[in-house]
Symmetry: C2
Subunit: 125 residues, 2 copies
């Protein structure tokens, strides 16, 4: 699991590039060689290798060299850690909204609840 801030820096930085996301999309279908990863991208093999290195440094991708071929694959644990960080923020935010909804429902009368809520929201700061 990733819990160190510097690790998440590297993971989100790695995902912030469209070419690297194309590589991750390819890898989600199964392992691939570096040249296979570069095929849909209009860039030199050297540039592809640099992107692969960024993905490896983030932990999102692992690679293994057999003979002259380097085969890359996804490290799902790291992908999951980035997903979890986002999901936790979103869940906290949604829970807060739920509590706000409960509070408004409690303080408003049983009739006209919806209207009461809208009016309260409009009056907000």
């Amino acid at each position: 699991m990733l819990d160190q801030s510097a690790d998440l820096d590297r993971v989100f930085h790695a995902l912030a590039d469209p070419g690297r996301r194309v590589m991750m999309e390819r890898l989600s279908a199964g392992p691939a060689s570096v040249s296979e990863l570069g095929r849909p991208l209009a860039m030199s093999l050297a540039a592809v290798l640099q992107h692969v290195q960024v993905l490896e440094a983030s932990g999102l991708v692992r690679s293994r060299k057999t003979g002259r071929t380097r085969t890359c694959s996804i490290n799902p644990a790291v992908l999951h850690s980035a997903e979890s960080w986002i999901a936790e923020r979103r869940t906290l935010w949604e829970r807060r909204l739920d509590r706000l909804g409960d509070y408004l429902a409690d303080t408003a009368g049983p009739a006209d609840t919806g209207i009461q809520q809208n009016e309260t929201l409009k009056e907000g700061p």
Copy 2:
């Protein structure tokens, strides 16, 4: 919803900074002013504002100015889009592993289920 690559570039870039993630953590508990967002961070108000601008440009955060106070809040739809992109990659990867597991179970099954299936097919009209 986010589906354009440039949008995801900005979202992941915004999340790749530890200070901006601290701001997102604070905002997941509810709206906050720019100075509140900067409180736990050892940086100038100008630097805080720059980070807020990166978060706003990504769509992750929305802000509203009332008098001299700018209040920021999370835009959950954008947070969800980033989460979905990661989740889809992870799910595809896991499904592939499941299929691989099924294939291995079929080909190495103790009751030779695979052979049985083939025989049934051979009996057809």
